[in-house]
Symmetry: D3
Subunit: 288 residues, 6 copies
């Protein structure tokens, strides 16, 4: 996954507008635009880096000439104390952009760091950790990018690029069979059909209706285990993908992974990832 | 603090566009637009509510006729299990708006809940907990609103509505005295001047230059204590406001508060507030 | 498929701005805003209707009180002379909106009428006519909606909601197998993988790599026929979808359909659909 | 007529957003961004070229370094097989921009090709073929530009840069005389006044009111002939421009032209111009 | 001329955003949203009213329920002390909108008042006062509307709805004749051609090229007088419009008008119209 | 104060769109894009320059290669006849941008020139001339910048970066004391509190409530004099800032300044500053 450059600049521009408004009055009043400085991003804890390109875009949006010199790459695991990147330019630009750049880098690296923990928790199994739509509103693409470089995989990006039939859809449509039929008739042939099943009967309906992906939500490890077996035995050699979700934490993710599910989706990758601690040290330069 | 209605609707509209894109294909395919339902927001943990009006705006942006019936108000502390609000309308609208509404309500209530803990931690002192600019990019106003209903107070909203002279500004300007003089000359008379001081000499300069607010950053409780006394003794009866920040947690905030500082700013109110757990239960209705 | 109301109004608003600019100077100069009239859309040829809701939005964007009374519904086949819909309101509003409303209704009905011909051409077979991305820039959703009510089905809506590996992708990736593997690794599990094959070897690779959809581009009826058979025999009971495209016209579409392909995609549904002839007769009303 | 560069880039940017959405997932997954290629636009039929600058803008919007090398110029008539232009750059950029570039080039060249036929149909007369406002919504400027390079001329660009009093305006104003008087009083002196006349009486009123342009709509060749004579005889040496419109096709346009009208407006130049066939051949390059 | 409602609301919305930014902190802090008040616009000097609808839109943009009760109409001449309009609603809304509403009403009425003086200065002649493009950037339509209700007429609204060939165009094109020929060939037939002439030779060329409007710029009254006569004698009964401009003030406008020119354009109507004095008196109401 | 470059370009772009619309048809028709010229801005009266960077942005928005060579700097006082700046480029660009550039430069220099007069009027006193929010809607930042280079100072930029409690706020809050208390509780600690007082009692309340700034509105010189003395005697050595406003003109500003007030705010700096006279002379160049 690559972040679209136009997307990054549009986002960053709106974030700068939010923070700077009519102008950084302190810096404009106190700092001559001719004063140069060097800013260094330093990891203050162990973390997985994500968002260097976004941090650079913050400063480049204020002064297009600024470029970040990165010493690590997105997805890299670094230890506390590591210098992540350096940027030189007018001190006023570094000061005005500092907060937005840090807010983004700390958030994105926070998501990547959180994701890495979950990904490591299932190493050695065939399962993948995937994200959800429980992202921060407005940051969907940045959050999903951070999950990817953190070692996770992406679920659908929005309601328009994946069909996921949930309990309420099923109830309103009048059953799994009816819901899948409607979805198949009314969507393009390019999309798989994923359906959430709550019990054995629904699972059977889903298999008979040739669902492509089965979501097992809020089930115990045992229940997931049995369902996976049932699907293998009754899936007629079709490549059915099985996803588990709900109440899965770092404590139990390995157990779920060993059931043979393909995907384990975890909302906590994005809805509750704490920001990691990164500082931005500005050192005035002699150059004026 | 009240949230501006236009702001809410502009934000919500962009968040819906991010999530729904070309259309909620599952719901459009499976759910008849004539099917009605009732959705209920339920607290799944103890929490402080924030963002009910924002959650309502999500659904109202899809169908202007929908209205939330709230059983609690923003700022209220509720126990797990409590029904927070209810909304009736087309099932398709509830399903398409559910995720964005929850993402916002869980985030905002998460910030309010976090803030309430800090606010309680200093009850009985004269200090106030204040937020920082370490908010989620794009959510500045929502985050700051949630802090307020959580029991905290707001620091400046952006770089344009407050003067805060930090270490780098001081270094570049050539000292506290010079920096304050420049800020006073180049800004409107409506703004106070806050300055960060790192030691006694800088504090003396700040007092002599008649700074309005003194920021004591990353100091021990003892150091803050001494500084507060020094300011009282040397402040010439001016109403100097003192703010402490840096490494202040729930564990030590009470100690800092007892030093007599007026404000304690805490980045964790917003940069690392975990989302609280709220569910949205949709029940189909007989009405068609 | 339903058209999103916000999308319709955003599009219509930009089209009105394009046409009206600083104001309809003729109407503003000549027609009193107090003069009422009734406008009637009349079919001047046999056609399939599409876009009534869009036409209504044109007038409602100028005066929110205006409503179209429709006598037919989208997708209906009507004969020349039929009154499609009627709208009453200020004559100035009808005159200023007339051209944009007609341009849209004639275009959309043109696409629906064209599509209906192709759909009828394969009646009795199991094949479906599907559209392409050869739509008018800016009108993608309107064009695809018109295809749907015309009796066709939709292919992917954009480059982001479907994976279609074409000849150039294959060449660059180093073969069908490699391309499918990369696509599977780097996309969400919600998307099927469609691949274009040019010969038997590529077809075999596609089947072995478990492609979900096979595109047979620019093949003769005979070649398609053989490929369909081969896929059935070697598809291991997987539900492989087969699409034919390229040089398929009203003359030969039935032959292609009888080969057993599932989908026949036709660019001409949208890239060359002539506008149908619809008039808008305005009759001044006595009411002033 | 020159196309405004900002207009082109704004249009192209919105068209790319429509087609690419969250990203070209096939190309991003399968094609390394380091892979280079050369793309060639080839005419697959005889046509008049229009839109090369627009096609270039599509690729330049994705990667500002890309430039089209054109072998023909807009307005040139080329034979099937001719290479129109070539562009080199990252294969991923060529693949992601291909469809939008082709959709635009095929549409614009389609309009130019259609216009050229009409223009040739009246060669040797003093009449000009002019377009109408029956353009594709959103493409007004591109359509009108294509008409121009195709050999036609432009009628007004919108409702705000020309006064055209039609039958309904006349009916509501209470006659030709009243309508012209109102238009003259309420518009700037920079605009001519064109009025549609349906019969001899209206024509006389128009001449007496000193209309600048007379529109003869839906008249037979004979009726146009007589009207033109009448205008010449009664126009008092004023330079009255006469326009004919309605039911004019390639079959009869020459007859109309020979009546001595100045302008013949033809909606079919834009509302029903079929896209011409142009292909884009991408050849991978060794450069990596 | 009527102001387009969408234009008004878009303008007003951006002006409110400029003034209110993140919120009217004084009013939000001090005034309960439940407090009602009545605001009255009072003329503090003799003036011509313009912009009541715009002033209403300011308040309606904050609270859609608010409506202005106007006691005068745009274009009316009122004496100092006159109550122009009254509006009731939440005191907070009146306070937050007051400044923007006044700024607009005072500006627009200033332009109308200024224009009325010039219009009166030529009463009894056949000349009209017309505006120029010397309007306040961003307020073009409001300024031109105010000129119209003030008793003046509008020149072109922008560079795209009128052809005015000035001295530099002539110099570059190689003479009046060449410039007019180019303009006639390259523009639509709906536009008249106005040309600035500096001397008798250019005037002769303009007449021979059948220019529709002649601009006499920066000429003395005598020179204008002679030119008008020359045009009448040599204009071959064509309805040539003559415009004078440059250094025309209230002192000499009558003299210019008596030369028989049709139009006198005056930049001062808009570029230097002082704001008139209007106050907004807010009286708290008992209703809460 | 520096103008933000993004702000300038956004403003200029919308102003150009307003003026140019679909295209400068005269210039496009008459002037070859290959023709070069040099344009020179000349002062036609004595004035204080403001807005050179904005004028440059007008041309650079049409052609990014154009740069202004300035011979003076913003804030400089120049005599009639002085060449302010020069710009070379395509004649078509100079012609299309001329009017917007002049409108802005004349407006901004008009404000600066007006401000300089007031600033000179109080030279030798300790008072400062400050602006108000009576700026042209949409030009707030440009107007305030012009005030600054003209020698004045800025009051708050909007309703969100300063607290100013006026008569109506006081009336609704129930007195000066109550209003100040509410403002202090509900706003950030970074903002001073300014309050308007109408009499001695309110002044006493304001002092007791520790208002930071006192506004004396519409008072005679004598009344201001007495109030200033009273504040000095009763202000407890706090640095209370005193502002006078209302009916202050060039005739009496010196008297007000000598009362010892700190600030004198004058709406006329911006609401009624006449545009100064600057011309733009374009000379064709031999270079083609």
């Amino acid at each position: 996954m690559q972040l679209d450059k136009n997307l990054i600049f549009n986002l960053v521009s709106s974030f700068l507008e939010e923070d700077i408004g009519r102008g950084d009055i302190t810096t404009q009043s106190v700092v001559s635009p001719k004063f140069y400085a060097c800013g260094r991003f330093l990891a203050k804890q162990n973390l997985v880096v994500a968002g260097l390109e976004v941090a650079e875009a913050v400063f480049a949006s204020i002064d297009p000439d600024l470029e970040l010199v990165a010493f690590v790459h997105d997805g890299e695991e670094v230890a506390a104390g590591k210098e992540l990147a350096r940027i030189e330019g007018a001190a006023s630009v570094l000061l005005s952009g500092e907060r937005v750049a840090l807010n983004l880098l700390q958030r994105m690296s926070g998501v990547a760091t959180q994701t890495r923990k979950y990904a490591k928790g299932i190493e050695g199994t065939n399962a993948r950790v995937v994200d959800t739509r429980k992202t921060i509103p407005g940051l969907r693409m940045l959050d999903k990018y951070a999950v990817r470089v953190g070692g996770g995989y992406n679920h659908r990006f929005g309601l328009d690029d994946g069909i996921l039939i949930k309990d309420n859809h099923i109830a309103i449509a009048g059953g799994v069979r009816a819901a899948i039929a409607l979805a198949r008739e009314n969507s393009t042939h390019m999309l798989k059909i994923e359906v959430e099943v709550a019990n054995r009967d629904q699972l059977i309906e889903a298999l008979e209706s040739k669902a492509d992906v089965i979501l097992l939500d809020n089930m115990s490890v045992e229940a997931v285990n049995e369902s996976v077996k049932f699907i293998k035995e009754n899936g007629q050699n079709r490549n059915i993908i099985v996803e588990a979700s709900g109440n899965i934490s770092l404590d139990n993710i390995a157990e779920y992974a060993r059931t043979g599910v393909d995907l384990i989706s975890v909302g906590a990758l994005t809805h509750s990832a704490p920001a990691v601690d990164i500082s931005f040290k500005i050192a005035p330069e002699s150059r004026v």
